[in-house]
């Protein structure tokens, strides 16, 4: 059981290091709202080369709609490039059950047929319910089932990880 959470900025640095010489030169960075979106933005600046950035909101593709209804105020997916034949790095903040990523992949395919998709996450907390793995992981953490790791962005843009009660544990 973790006692304290790692510093998000440090983990982000580590993630960028792993991605730096590994991702395709023409890879597009697609962040899953909202944590993944912040990360994609930051990574685009931290990584060399010109990687177009897109944002994906998975509200309309989630598998828990029947139980939880539509999330309030879904954001608009914005992919300012041709998804077909692209090499995409999908970026999320916390990888847990894998369901968000599944939804994001399904949604991407409604935009076109990518050449390849790789997954990059800040935190991998295990507990997978679907066969999904990230190629690039900032840090692996073990977290109690009833807890939720949340990425937050402070007013000055600094990223922070916090632990919350999982009563609203929909961050898969």
């Amino acid at each position: 059981m973790i006692a304290t959470l790692p510093d998000a900025e440090t983990v982000l640095g580590r993630l960028a290091d792993k991605m730096r010489d590994a991702i395709a030169f023409d890879a597009k960075l697609v962040g899953i709202y909202s944590g993944g979106a912040w990360l994609a933005e930051r990574l685009a600046r931290m990584l060399p080369g010109d990687h177009p950035v897109g944002y994906i909101d998975v509200s309309f593709y989630r598998d828990d709609y029947a139980v939880r209804g539509l999330r309030p105020n879904p954001a608009t997916t914005a992919l300012p490039f041709e998804v077909g034949a692209s090499r995409i790095v999908l970026i999320d903040d916390v990888l847990y059950t894998g369901r968000s990523v599944r939804a994001a992949i399904n949604e991407l395919f409604d935009y076109g047929r990518p050449q390849a998709i790789e997954l990059a996450v800040l935190i991998d907390r295990g507990g997978r319910e679907l066969p999904i793995e990230a190629v690039y992981v900032g840090e692996r953490l073990a977290v109690a089932r009833d807890a939720s790791i949340v990425l937050e962005r402070r007013a000055d843009g600094k990223l922070e990880l916090t632990l919350e009660d999982a009563k609203d544990a929909s961050r898969a």
Binding site: F60, L70, N73, T77, N106, D110
Partner: protein, 319 residues
Amino acid sequence: MRNPQLNAEGELTHLLTLEGLPPEVIGRILDTAVPFVSIAERDVKKVPLLRGKTVFNLFFENSTRTRTTFEIAAKRLSADVINLNIGVSSTSKGETLLDTIDNLAAMNADMFVVRHAESGAPHLIAQHLSASGKSHIHVVNAGDGRHGHPTQGLLDLFTIRHYKRDFRALAVAIVGDVLHSRVARSLIHGLTTLGTAEVRVIGPKTLLPTAVESLGVRVFHRMQEGLCGCDVVVMLRLQNERMRGSLLPSAGEYFKHYGLTSEKLRLAKPDAIVMHPGPMNRGVEIDSAVADGSHSVILPQVTFGIAVRMAVMSILAGN
């Protein structure tokens, strides 16, 4: 009296009218519609939200336009759609309205989109479903008599918000047959709920309902006064029956007093937008120069209409 549109948890379970809906609920529907607008621009215009759900379009009053937009909206949500044109009188075949509802409910319906010539029909249906243990079936009012057309009201609000942003700074004029117009009533309720600075109705006395001011509007009988300084001009359709019902002498005279021309439009603000729920009677309530002109947002209204209906259905089906 509890709001019949909300379930026991206070969530929206039917959309019957915009009256009494809190501004947050309206705001949420408009916000949810935003991403649906861009989905319409993709190649794959579908999302899987309502997959496996069955939506019945129950049109007791004919309308190809409205029915088509609801059908498109439901299909883009991956729902199965069944269209039923039940004609003017449901009792013409001896089956009562509620019998029809009971039969369809037994076919595992998830949502009824209802248009009816009489005010209150969707309320009756919603109440009956609740009383017969079928409260999981959602009812969307696609127009009931002269009472309400909430999805039209919402798409009108969405359009105004898209072009004008803040309702609290706007003067909106609704011109024409307010008396018979469910579109006008819904829009008025939506505008007043969202705090619109001024809502005006413009029309002859024969086409304005009694005590219309009690809805929160300012009444004008002359366009020359009512249009001054308006940010939004909404033209209502004039139906031929009105001439036959001795409410108006002729379409020509109506156009003279209440038709929107470029000249009259100049009285509104220079960046005013012109809206119309459609279908338009060119030369009766609006002349072609304005309908096709730069102020007109009539075609975008149609696009927004599909997105707004997708938003309504996806919010309801999830509750």
